[in-house]
Structures are given as structure tokens and as C-alpha cells.
């Protein structure tokens, strides 16, 4: 499972190692464990399933 996922619309990246402190996702939270109805926190246009794995 890739540890970095990118929003194809705005380029926001979710890094598993870093999590997203502002959004309340602790470092180490896998992308898979983000809520199913989660949308990109920067643009809100793209859904979770739109995110592209990077590495």
C-alpha cells in the first residue's frame, strides 16, 4: 500500500507518515483508514476514491 496519495484536482498530498494534524489524523494513519466519505481538505472537489497513490 502506497504511503502517499495525491488529489488529482489540486495536488494536496496525504502522507501516511505525517498524517494531517489540522484535520485530526495522527501521523501513521493509513490512507485506507480515512473516512469513506472523506473529501480533499484543500479543494473539496475530489472524493477519497479519486486520490492517486504516488509511491
Amino acid at each position: 500500500m502506497s504511503s502517499v496519495h495525491e488529489c488529482p484536482g489540486c495536488g494536496y498530498q496525504y502522507h501516511q507518515d505525517l498524517g494531517d494534524e489540522h484535520e485530526g489524523f495522527a501521523p501513521g494513519t493509513p490512507f485506507d483508514e480515512l473516512p469513506e466519505d472523506w473529501v480533499c481538505p484543500d479543494c473539496s472537489v475530489r472524493y477519497k476514491e479519486d486520490f492517486q497513490p504516488l509511491q
Binding site: G24, V39, D42, S44, V45, R46, Y47, D50
Partner: protein, 408 residues
């Protein structure tokens, strides 16, 4: 002479040099000037002595604005996609919305000072409150531009400028709520066909607050923090509002209470007006998985009118904004074949305030959009008006259509 107003960007490509001249570069300062509108009335009052001059900003917005949009016409030019990164990096454009922030404070404090220190009758105070309210409705527009950006500085400035019209929940509500739910019946900030602006406002204003609070509560709960903490970004902005508006009451007396109430409401009303016209009747379809299709360019109404776009940081190029919300104002593009408004926002707002006229102008436009093509099931309809609208615009198979939806 003309060249001084422009800047040319050049990019070397395999096919040779590509260049783009931004003819609007320095004209964007109009967005700053508009924030200072109340001073136009105050200056004219000081100069000519009669308080009726305080209505001058209203004349500029509702009479001069629509005339200029009609006269100067539309601008359909787009920067080439390859040049957009150069425009986005240019710090000049980034600076303008930031510089607009203190101007909104100045227009509220200046109008409050004039209302509190001059011998005005009630309608002089009212005109000041209304013109400051309209100027700081533009503060919500400035907050909108800044709140969509990714830098912490711009996001913090959004919270600060939104404090002027007491609308600190806007960034969260708009970015995380409206952009997610736009053009669906679930969105309190997307108007429905047959819904008057007055009915819409009663759904939009409380709905915006409730959704913002719910989104912030969810984020803070995930962080293990109470929603009643200083980490709540809505409360951060409200704290600035409280300090500012209490100071104005302390400085200029009780007249500030009605003055601020009218100012705040008028500012919110500008946003309500914009929300009302930006997605009227447009509807995203549901996909087989139950989720709505991604927001498409045909889910927003647009205007390319030069004047109002220049005073609104290109807000009227709304389709590209919803497709790319983090894109900066200077790079927003016009799309072909998207829903188009017949005038800019300054002309469309007063039309919306007279619902029968609004419906007469907009309902046929809505029905004629290529992706709707007269089919009411592709329209976001006010449930209370469904029957009447089907009777007026419905096509064959109308009865089956209605009973099928009612059965569901």
C-alpha cells in the same frame, strides 16, 4: 501609454516562445478601491453638506455598476494553461487580496466614526450602515479568495477579514460544505428553481452556520479537542468580531447597535445574493454508487462582464472556481458553453430582489441549458413549487414522473 497597464509573460517551449499579456493586471486594484466605497459617500457629504450624498455608494453599485457591465461588455480571454503557473507565482497578484484586508476594517471604522460623530438623522445613519455593509459584503469575497488558498498566512487573513462582517464561519462552511455539496438539494447555499431569494435566505443563513459548526465539531472531535476551545477557527474569528464591534460601541455610543446590526446583515445579504445567483436550479446527478457526480463546469452560472469581475476578484468566472477552488483569481478561465448570466452580479442582484422578474428571466434560461434541455428531472427544484413548475415547463410523461418521485 497602454503598455504601462500590462505585463507580458513569456515561456520557452519546444514549439518556440509562448507569451501572454495580462491586460487586467493593474485593473485588479479596483477590487481594493471597492472596499473603500463608504468613503465616497462620506467625502461627498463632507464636501457638499447634505446627508443624501451618503447614498452615492449605492448609486455606484446598483446604477453605475450594471451600466458599466453593459457598456464595457464581456472579456472572454484566458491565459494559456502553460502560463498559469507563472501567474500563480507572481507575488503582485497574491498581495492585492491581502492588502484589501485592512481596507475593510477602515471602511467599517470610518463609517462608524461618521455615524457616531456627525449630526445625522436616522436615514443618514441607515445609508452609512448600508454602504458599509455592502463594502464589507465584499469583505466576505476577499475572505473567500484568501480562504481557498493553501498558505497559513492567507488562511489566517481570511479569518481576520471575515470578522469585520461577523461571518467567521464562512471559510469552513464554504470550503468544506458548499464546495462538497454544491448544486445538490442538500446544499443550503445552492438555490432551487422556483425558490425566491427571500425563501432561500431563510434556508441559507442558518444552514450555513449549522453546517460550518458541524464540520468544525467533527474535525475537533477527531483531534480529541472540545468544540468550545480556542482551536475552533469559527470562535477565533468571532473573537475578533467581538473585540472590534464592542470597541465601536464603546467609542461611538448606542447608535452603533442598530448601525452594526444593519451593517452585518447587509454584508451577509451580499453573500446570500451571490449564492442565490451562482447555482440557481442547477443539479448534479447521482451516480450508481449513490454519490453525486463531481462538480462540472455546467453546475455554476457565470459572467464574463469586465467591470464586476474586476471588483470581485473574478468571482463571476464561477465554473472554473468550482472545478479548481485553489486556483488564484488572476488565472480563472472562461469556459465555452457554460451557463451564462445576462449581466454581472451588480445587475443580477436587484433582479433577484424582485422574484417574478427573476423567474421570468432565469427560468427559461435554465430550461434551455444544453445539459437540461427542457427536462425538469435535471433541475434542482423547490419541492413546494414542483407541481406548478411541471405544469408550466413539464413535457410528456409528466404525470408518471411526478407519481414516480412521490412514490419514492
Amino acid at each position: 501609454m497602454v503598455k504601462r497597464n500590462m505585463k507580458t509573460y513569456t515561456l520557452a517551449t519546444d514549439a518556440g516562445d509562448m507569451s501572454f499579456t495580462d491586460t487586467k493586471r493593474y485593473l485588479w486594484t479596483a477590487s481594493l478601491a471597492y472596499a473603500l466605497m463608504p468613503f465616497l459617500g462620506i467625502g461627498a457629504h463632507a464636501l457638499f453638506g447634505h446627508q443624501a450624498w451618503l447614498a452615492l455608494p449605492l448609486f455606484v453599485v446598483y446604477v453605475i455598476g450594471p451600466i458599466l457591465d453593459w457598456w464595457l461588455g464581456e472579456d472572454e480571454n484566458n491565459p494559456p494553461e502553460e502560463i498559469v503557473p507563472l501567474l500563480e507565482e507572481d507575488s503582485y497578484y497574491r498581495l492585492l487580496p491581502m492588502l484589501t484586508v485592512p481596507l475593510h476594517f477602515a471602511s467599517l471604522i470610518g463609517a462608524a466614526y461618521w455615524a457616531g460623530t456627525q449630526a445625522l438623522s436616522w436615514w443618514g445613519v441607515l445609508l452609512l450602515a448600508v454602504s458599509a455593509g455592502i463594502a464589507n459584503g465584499l469583505g466576505i469575497n476577499t475572505g473567500h479568495e484568501l480562504g481557498h488558498k493553501k498558505t497559513q498566512l492567507e488562511r489566517n487573513l481570511a479569518k481576520i477579514v471575515l470578522a469585520v462582517p461577523a461571518y467567521g464561519h464562512f471559510s469552513i462552511e464554504h470550503n468544506r460544505g458548499h464546495h462538497r455539496d454544491v448544486a445538490t438539494p442538500e446544499d443550503p447555499a445552492s438555490s432551487r428553481m422556483g425558490e425566491s431569494i427571500y425563501k432561500f435566505a431563510r434556508r441559507e443563513i442558518p444552514g450555513a452556520f449549522r453546517r460550518a459548526w458541524a464540520v468544525e465539531d467533527e474535525r475537533l472531535t477527531r483531534k480529541g479537542v472540545s468544540v468550545w476551545s480556542w482551536e475552533n477557527e469559527i470562535l477565533q474569528s468571532y473573537a475578533v468580531t467581538f473585540a472590534l464591534q464592542i470597541s465601536l460601541i464603546a467609542a461611538f455610543g448606542w447608535v452603533m447597535i442598530p448601525f452594526l446590526a444593519i451593517h452585518n446583515f447587509l454584508a451577509w445579504w451580499q453573500l446570500t445574493s451571490a449564492n442565490y445567483i451562482e447555482h440557481y436550479g442547477l443539479l448534479r446527478q447521482k451516480e450508481p454508487n449513490g454519490k453525486y457526480e463531481r462538480c462540472q463546469p455546467h453546475h455554476s452560472w457565470n459572467s464574463n462582464h469586465k467591470y464586476t469581475n474586476l471588483v470581485l476578484f473574478h468571482l463571476e468566472r464561477h465554473s472554473d472556481h468550482h472545478a479548481h477552488p485553489t486556483r488564484r483569481y488572476q488565472s480563472l478561465r472562461n469556459f465555452k458553453n457554460v451557463p451564462r448570466l445576462p449581466n454581472g452580479y451588480n445587475g443580477m442582484f436587484p433582479l433577484a430582489y424582485v422574484p417574478p422578474l427573476w423567474f421570468r428571466v432565469m427560468d427559461p434560461r435554465l430550461m434551455a441549458l444544453p445539459h437540461i434541455d427542457g427536462e425538469l428531472t435535471r433541475v434542482n427544484i423547490d419541492p413546494d413549487k414542483k407541481e406548478a413548475l411541471y405544469a408550466k415547463y413539464g413535457v410528456a410523461g409528466l404525470k408518471e414522473n411526478l407519481s414516480a418521485t412521490e412514490a419514492a
